[in-house]
Symmetry: C2
Subunit: 231 residues, 2 copies
């Protein structure tokens, strides 16, 4: 499971596969809406999500929330570097969450003369992918119109979930409330609602019992100004 995911970034040795298997054996579970960072004692943050969705977010003094990045299965969460500056934002579980310790992975990536070159390459690629996704988020918030912004997010989620085998026939399970979507997209809840309806009316996508279906990929790509920014 974990090994398959890593294999999409770099080929792994048997030892590396075994290491991942060991990690998976020691998974932890977290209830939804519990802050992962707040209780540093509960878990030491470099972790990888195995199942469920989480969000990296900032709170504003006036109580508003902005979600920086949605964290999906296969994503790393928590401070990756060795130096800890004061955390700029927190991570919260949006659904029931299953995670494994990512410290061995991060250390493998940092090693100058890697014992586990495959893991190192994979983790480094993941970090870069993550940076690219942050760029996408900035572009969405800064320059995309209503429909494009929503469509772009859906396409990104579809792509990311597809990589870990969680997207089927142009659709995927989407456990987010419109409220959370609003905090990702920088919209009001009402506006999220209307935007979704517009896209549905245009026959571009469909949302049925917690599942998104992308009905016309071509037109969605066009609307979102989609460029494949990462491989």
């Amino acid at each position: 499971m974990l090994a398959e995911h890593f294999s999409t970034f770099a080929s792994l040795s048997d030892a590396e596969v075994q290491l991942l298997r060991d990690l998976a054996g020691a998974a932890q579970y977290h209830p939804p809406y519990r802050d992962l960072h707040a209780a540093e004692a509960l878990l030491s943050p470099p972790r990888m999500i195995v199942a469920g969705w989480a969000a990296q977010y900032c709170m504003l003094p006036d109580g508003q929330r902005q979600i920086i990045s949605l964290r999906l299965p296969g994503d790393l969460v928590g401070p990756l570097g060795r130096v800890h500056l004061p955390a700029s934002c927190a991570v919260a579980a949006l659904t029931e969450l299953e995670t494994v310790d990512a410290k061995p992975l991060v250390e493998a990536a940092d090693a100058a003369d890697p014992v586990h070159p495959g893991l190192a390459r994979a983790v480094q690629a993941m970090v870069q992918l993550n940076d690219a996704q942050l760029c996408s988020q900035i572009v969405r918030l800064g320059r995309q119109g209503t429909g494009g912004r929503f469509a772009h997010l859906m396409l990104e989620l579809h792509g990311r979930l597809g990589r870990v085998g969680l997207a089927r026939d142009n659709g995927f399970a989407m456990p987010l409330t419109q409220n959370v979507l609003a905090d990702v997209l920088g919209f009001s809840v009402v506006h999220v609602n209307r935007t979704m309806q517009q896209l549905r009316r245009d026959g571009l996508l469909e949302v049925k019992d917690g599942r998104v279906h992308l009905l016309q990929l071509e037109r969605l790509h066009a609307l979102a100004g989609w460029v494949t920014r990462w491989a």
Copy 2:
């Protein structure tokens, strides 16, 4: 000069100071508005800015531009990891630019058993600082109103420039056109103009011949919902 800047992140050995001095000796210069990444041949991208401003940006298919991050003196630009995914965005010089090769720095930071522990710590801190700044940009674009967004950017610039000694008595030189500001803030040019005037009318800040003066830090902090996200 470079050494002083690094010292604000970690204390350096004599050898490390010397290394920085050597780097500074081999500075390169770039004319404004020339794309730093386009011509990979001209310079190999992990570089550090010594003087001048640059911008990391993305182009949208429809010709719009979104600036992801302004790069100031002391900032690293270019891919930092060892794995090169297809670049998600480019970097352009906004002014006359002076840069030095940052490869030795990045390598020092990556070393598992650092020959230059001071440099390693400093570079790692810079990378984290950079991540925090990306978060700030996302929050600005997603959740801040007109005035707050502008004020927040000015406060960030003031802080970042202050760290490298380029801010004096609550003011700093600001070589950006309103057009560029618009591409940073996700505004239209006209809206940038009006926002600046509003802030000026409110006595919060002043822009005179390429120099920004923050007149009432308290009220600016309040308006921007400022929280010190990085040390």
